[in-house]
């Protein structure tokens, strides 16, 4: 199982905080993004935006980063702390 976490405006648009996916073999962050766009069409614009960051197990990841069973993936809109 892969746990996807949505934050801030993404959570509001997805109307969900967490979404879990059963995956057989490892996939890439890019492949996971396509799955999420299908399940949450409202997120498409943000997920395709260059300003969206993705984390895998709380480290920054890119399109090609592998996601395997047990991983936690964060979908992170632009930060505004400080």
């Amino acid at each position: 199982m892969v746990t996807v976490r949505f934050f801030a405006m993404l959570r509001g648009l997805a109307k969900a905080e967490v979404k879990e996916y059963e995956i057989g073999s490892p996939i890439t962050v890019g492949e996971l993004k396509e799955m999420i766009k299908k399940d949450f069409p409202a997120l498409t614009g943000l997920i395709d935006s260059r300003s969206l960051l993705v984390s895998v197990n709380q480290e920054f990841a890119n399109r090609d980063t592998a996601v395997k069973d047990g991983d936690e993936v964060g979908f992170l809109p632009p930060f505004s702390g400080g």
Partner: protein, 151 residues
């Protein structure tokens, strides 16, 4: 709140994310406990102001990615200690609801001489805004809106 530092002593936790307000005097005291060789301390305090991009603001609400945000702040302290000639650094960021005029974030950079403290402090707040998964929602006349970009 305490953590185990490199030397194995339990110390006050200098890097934290918390709901409660903080005291600048107390945080400075915690950082200065590191050494009697500290002569210059540069502090940055971020506070909740009543406008943003021309819009009037009546309150803020901060959310963070628990675990990852704390890790990023600890990492900023580590890199500041490695890359600047400072003795110690503390970082505290509040989350949850914050009223106008209240404290949001505090960076304390302590060194023997002031130049190093200024450089490290300014670097740390810039880096915090860049890499820390924290999000701000502003309460405006148009309702509550997530801030999507840091100015």
């Amino acid at each position: 709140m305490s953590n185990l530092n490199k030397k194995g002593y339990y110390t006050v936790q200098l890097v934290r994310i918390q709901l409660e307000d903080f005291s600048i005097d107390q945080e400075v005291k915690n950082v200065m406990a590191a050494s009697n060789g500290i002569g210059g301390v540069t502090i940055f305090l971020g506070a909740a102001r009543d406008f943003s991009k021309g819009e009037s603001i009546t309150g803020l609400d901060f959310e963070h990615y628990p675990g990852m945000a704390e890790k990023k702040l600890l990492d900023i302290r580590e890199r500041a200690l490695n890359n600047f000639n400072i003795i110690e650094m503390g970082i505290v960021h509040r989350v949850g609801k914050i009223d106008i005029g209240e404290n949001i974030v505090l960076i304390v950079a302590a060194s023997a001489h002031r130049n190093d403290a200024f450089m490290a402090c300014e670097w740390a707040i810039t880096e915090l805004k860049r890499v820390t998964p924290i999000w701000k929602r502003e309460t405006t006349g148009k309702g509550d809106v997530w801030v999507s970009e840091t100015p």
